[in-house]
């Protein structure tokens, strides 16, 4: 019964979602942490910066246009490659493959908050409001990651009905998966998924977008501290 449901789930077409920003709530602790306040506590922020953050969070509400598109594939694994859609190799590297090796399926996804926020960041930065521009940029990064987390939760909820679990999200550009891997990743989704395009250097446009894969299986593990998988020791976002 469960196998049948899983097969049905795997055969579904790409699924999209588009939200209004009103449905989207930012976590101020996440914003504080992303601004560099190491304890992630809004109490560490001076009154003035706090005001700027509050103003920019309110402005972001009208600028964030969350969209996503995702599709599950049966997973095949060979060496440091995850093969999806029957024949498209995603050369994810050894670190990510160690997390995926027990997966039976792989979800390929693209998430974005659109380009309006990025445009406003540019206007503020080049218009002399460096503080507001910087804070808004950080809020955009938190928003798109948070939206990607929400997709992960949705997928984890769906596959739990088949008795399966999910790995962490893994993206090109991290854990020795080259950013150029975006080309293969995007090739298994419809053109411009969720309105996101790639430029010649595999950069996503809009910039505030996240793409990647999530492994699904009975024996996969979700790592609470995924930074331990990454060799980028100097990364300012590193949590462990």
């Amino acid at each position: 019964m469960r196998t049948g449901k899983l097969e049905q789930w795997l055969s579904q077409p790409p699924r999209g979602c588009e939200e209004t920003s009103a449905e989207f709530v930012l976590d101020s602790q996440d914003v504080a942490r992303a601004l560099g306040y190491a304890r992630g506590s809004v109490d560490d922020i001076s009154a003035h910066v706090s005001d700027v953050v509050a103003t920019m969070e309110a402005e972001a509400q009208s600028l964030i246009r969350p969209r996503w598109l995702w599709k599950p594939f049966r997973g095949m694994f060979k060496g440091d490659c995850c093969i999806v859609n029957g024949s498209t190799p995603l050369v994810v590297g050894d670190q990510i493959m160690a997390q995926l090796k027990n997966a039976t399926a792989v979800v390929v996804y693209v998430v974005t908050i659109g380009e309006a926020l990025e445009r406003t960041v540019q206007e503020r930065m080049y218009g002399g409001d460096n503080v507001g521009g910087y804070v808004l940029d950080v809020i955009g990064s938190v928003a798109v990651e948070s939206f990607a987390d929400r997709l992960q939760e949705l997928i984890a909820g769906e596959v739990s009905e088949f008795g399966l679990k999910t790995t962490n999200r893994f993206s090109p550009g991290y854990c020795s998966w080259p950013t150029s891997g975006q080309q293969e990743l995007f090739s298994v989704l419809p053109e411009a998924p969720a309105g996101v395009d790639l430029n010649a250097s595999s950069l996503m446009i809009p910039i505030k977008s996240v793409s990647g894969i999530i492994g699904v299986g009975a024996n996969v593990v979700f790592q609470q501290y995924p930074c331990e998988l990454c060799s980028l020791r100097g990364c300012h976002q590193r949590l462990a």
């Binding site: 003035h48 910066v49 460096n130 080259p178 430029n199 250097s201 595999s202």
Partner: protein
């Protein structure tokens, strides 16, 4: 005379602290509750009226304030928003000093040409470095994002003796960074080149022939002080 020196010293110190607090002028309420109290603008005007030279105010008050804040940033006592707010206050002080220098031109440490390398559109990190280096006395020439090596070479001709800063946020654009450094070296072997950005590290900087790697804007200030004392 000695008393005058003490008074002036205290005033310079006060300006430095006011820069760090980010209080531009008396109209602003930064820090909160400070509206009506003198900011950098009023204090610099007071310092000039008391006979202090523009050079001293610049070095011992404005730049000293940013240096002190840079140390606090390195020690995780303040964060980028506070540094940006302080830089804005310092810029307001610069404006008050312009008449002290010939032609209204502020003395600078030199020209720092900065840009994000070809193929990369990320510019927040680059902008932060530019703002903070400007606060440390550098004249910034921002070439923008997605800059081909030729754009940097053109800047070398335009600003002889400049320092070059290259930013990349993507692993793929590190290749463009390597090519850019190589072409700068071929054109001008002695040009100081700094690199930065999330995927870059000190080993990579050495490998591609850059003079140094700065993990954050504050480190870029320190690195330049080391390389060009």
């Amino acid at each position: 005379m000695q008393r005058d020196g003490e008074v002036n010293g205290r005033l310079l110190q006060r300006i430095s602290e006011t820069v760090q607090a980010g209080k531009t002028n008396s109209e602003t309420d930064i820090p909160r509750g400070s509206k009506g109290k003198p900011g950098v603008v009023e204090l610099v005007q007071e310092a000039l009226a008391s006979g202090l030279s523009g050079e001293r105010i610049l070095d011992e008050a404005l730049l000293a304030g940013m240096r002190s804040l840079g140390s606090k940033f390195a020690a995780n006592e303040v964060f980028i928003p506070e540094v940006l707010i302080a830089a804005r206050a310092m810029q307001a002080g610069f404006v008050e000093l312009k008449d002290c220098f010939s032609g209204g031109e502020m003395p600078t440490r030199g020209v720092f040409v900065i840009g994000t390398v070809q193929g990369d559109l990320h510019d927040i990190g680059k902008n932060l470095v530019a703002i903070i280096l400007e606060g440390a006395g550098w004249e910034i020439k921002d070439l923008g994002t997605d800059c081909a090596p030729e754009v940097f070479l053109e800047a070398l001709g335009q600003y002889p003796g400049c320092v070059v800063g290259l930013s990349a946020l993507l692993t793929t654009t590190m290749v463009a960074m390597r090519d850019t450094v190589r072409m700068i070296r071929e054109r001008s072997p002695s040009t100081v080149v700094l690199v930065g950005g999330a995927p870059v590290n000190a080993e990579f900087a050495t490998e591609i022939g850059a003079n140094g790697y700065a993990p954050d804007p504050s480190a870029a200030v320190g690195l330049l002080d080391e390389l060009l004392p």
